[in-house]
């Protein structure tokens, strides 16, 4: 259990490149924090700075109130699971799991008890005598986790631990990690570029881009109340539809005009846009594919021809070519549709997100 605070942390390399720019983050005891973002956003660097594997160029890092910028990794009492597992190839599974305890000079019988206990909890008992080269990807992943768990560390750091597994195994291991978190009841910091992992595992998600934190929130808020266009587009699959619209006043009411039609606004959104002086100006609007619905031609904000129809069982994804570009709809209506068929869609007004087209910051959710 640990409380970790990052205070104005910056990572600058010798060539002047800033991988992490002045970030602030507070991680409370028992939180499952996810650092998520596209490649090169600085999430792994941030994790490695917490681990002590990367020097901190500027700022302060606190672990349980103690500044640990200059504390070497072996003295931080933090365990880490690496993307490529990093198992010691010359040691058996047993020796791999036991290594940290051996370093701590834990008595042999206690090491044995704890290794067997950990192995049993991860289904590794049968594999204890094998070398890593004889294990499958999923098994290696479990050994890597066992190696971290056995120490009872203050916090677990995981650097894209599932990215080397196939889709099915990844789903399975995701559930196991969630289960582990419930059982261990300790602080987890998890790096991923997969937003499904982020949304399903995290209690707090930190979205990063270009070395800066974009938003810190819980999964629900992140999904429903993104602070900018990047977060809105990054979270959710299929990604949010973005389109340009004009705020126009018709019969005393403000609405958004698209190329194909218009979108009514909720009173709250209307008021916010009016207050901020957006009347008569262009905005960027966003709507998630699942928040689009079929409608009549008169009500339609988007009219288009179906280019791709994907039936996923309980739902279907429709890709339609509209005047505003490609619009993606995720619908429960699983009636098979033909390529080229015309569809009329409108957003659910309360789910519409409106962004400033220049700063890309949210105006109203």
């Amino acid at each position: 259990m640990a409380e970790i605070i990052l205070n104005n942390i910056t990572k600058e390399y010798d060539n002047g490149f800033q991988a992490v720019k002045n970030i602030n983050l507070e991680i409370k005891d028992n939180e499952f924090v996810i650092l998520v973002g596209p490649s090169g956003c600085g999430k792994s660097t941030t994790l490695r700075m917490i681990a002590g594997l990367e020097d901190i160029s500027d700022g302060d890092l606190f672990l349980d109130g103690k500044r640990i910028n200059d504390v070497p990794p072996q003295e931080r009492d933090i365990a880490m699971v690496f993307q490529n597992y990093a198992l010691y190839p010359h040691m058996t599974v047993y020796q791999n799991i036991a290594y940290s305890l051996k370093i701590k000079k834990v008595p042999k019988d206690e090491i044995d008890r704890r290794v067997r206990e950990t192995a049993a909890s991860l289904g590794l008992t049968e594999l204890l005598d094998r070398k890593p080269g004889q294990l499958s990807g999923g098994q290696k992943q479990r050994v890597a986790m066992g190696r971290a768990i056995i120490r009872h560390p203050k916090a677990f750091l995981m650097d894209e631990p599932l990215s080397n597994l196939d889709a099915k195994l990844r789903g399975q291991m995701r559930v196991e990690i969630a289960d582990l978190y419930q059982r261990l009841n300790t602080t987890f910091i998890y790096v991923t570029h997969d937003q499904t992992e982020a949304m399903t595992l995290g209690t707090k998600i930190v979205v990063m881009k270009d070395g800066e934190i974009q938003q810190i929130d819980n999964p629900t808020n992140l999904f429903n109340y993104p602070v900018n266009k990047f977060v809105a587009g990054f979270i959710g699959t299929p990604t949010m539809n973005f389109f340009d619209a004009e705020c126009v006043e018709e019969d005393g009411k403000l609405c958004l005009k698209t190329l194909d039609g218009k979108i009514e606004l909720t009173p709250e959104k209307e008021q916010k846009l009016k207050e901020d002086g957006w009347t008569g100006r262009k905005v960027t609007a966003g709507i998630r594919p699942e928040h689009l619905e079929f409608c009549t031609e008169e009500q339609a904000a988007f009219k288009g021809e179906i280019s791709v129809f994907e039936l996923l069982g309980s739902n279907a994804i429709i890709y339609a070519q509209c005047a505003d570009g490609r619009v993606v709809m995720n619908t429960n209506d699983t009636v098979s549709r033909e390529h080229g068929e015309t569809v009329f869609m409108k957003p659910r007004e309360e789910k519409l997100h409106i962004f400033d087209p220049e700063t890309e910051r949210i105006i109203t959710n």
Binding site: A51, P73, I78, L87, Y88
Partner: protein
């Protein structure tokens, strides 16, 4: 993975090709091994036979030549000197070489590349150019004509640093980082994670430097004068000219040379698998 190619050539061509290979390799092999075989057969000849070019194999093997070297000459003493001095030197070279190679490969510091450049630069320096400064330093430290001087002056091997660095570079950095996260210091990570994974490099380095130190002649003969500190090459030379017997005791000189080589042959027999592996550039890590 073994790949089998189908040989489409006709039978006579194939036979000729194999014969050609055998002939070339056989000749090269004989040329390489001939001095050694000559030394062995000469060590069993009589004083008269040895200068008779008509006789290659001894007519009456003189086993007493070998016995007199082992029991009645200072050669075993020189072998012992060479063996333990080489062992200590190689041990020290492994420790210093591994530490520097680890720093060059796994530690991040500003002058990393510069340091490696300097280390490699000294490798370009002719060894003879270092004799005089090294001699003066040892003289100042009062270490001339002693085992201490011999050992201290050879604690670092540039070749070893280079060889180990190349081996260490094959190891994913994540393994050392994982060890650090597991609580290992750099020292532990080096000996418990990196070293076992680059065993072949260590053995190759150890064996090659053991052989060269064991056989070393020039430097030891510059700094040691007393026969009690002689290594084998100096010892052989001293034995050769003993009592003014310049070139008169060829059979005994050959027997002494043969005895001197035995420890190296035994060592090679035990380590050749690793030795060849290490020379071939493979570090023993299987993917």
């Amino acid at each position: 993975m073994n790949t089998h190619y189908k040989d489409n050539r006709s039978l006579p061509v194939r036979i000729l090709s194999v014969l050609g290979k055998v002939l070339i390799l056989g000749t090269a092999g004989i040329f390489t091994a001939f001095p050694f075989i000559w030394m062995i057969v000469s060590s069993l000849k009589t004083k008269a036979d040895i200068l008779n070019t008509d006789i290659f194999f001894p007519t009456d093997p003189q086993w007493s030549n070998i016995a007199s070297i082992i029991f009645r000459s200072p050669i075993p003493r020189y072998i012992f000197n060479s063996a333990w001095v080489s062992l200590v030197i190689v041990g020290l070279q492994i420790i210093t070489g591994a530490m520097l190679a680890y720093a060059l490969v796994f530690l991040k510091f500003r002058t990393n590349k510069l340091l490696f450049g300097i280390v490699m630069g000294t490798y370009m320096l002719p060894v003879a150019a270092t004799y005089i400064p090294s001699y003066i330093i040892l003289a100042d430290w009062h270490m001339l004509d002693s085992f201490r001087g011999l050992i201290i002056s050879s604690t670092v091997s540039i070749f070893g640093i280079f060889l180990l660095r190349q081996g260490f570079m094959q190891i994913p950095k994540g393994l050392v980082e994982a060890a650090r996260m597991d609580g290992a210091s750099h020292w532990r990570a080096l000996w418990e994670i990196v070293c076992p994974m680059t065993k072949a490099s260590f053995i190759t380095f150890g064996l090659m430097n053991f052989i060269s130190t064991y056989n070393n002649y020039m430097w030891p003969s510059l700094i040691t004068k007393s026969s009690e500190y002689f290594l084998v090459s100096q010892g052989l030379r001293a034995f050769f000219i003993r009592d003014g017997a310049y070139g008169t005791e060829w059979a005994l000189v050959m027997a002494a040379s043969a005895v001197v080589v035995v420890p190296l042959l035994v060592l090679f027999a035990f380590t050749q698998k690793w030795f060849i592996n290490g020379i071939g550039g493979e570090t023993g890590i299987k993917g």
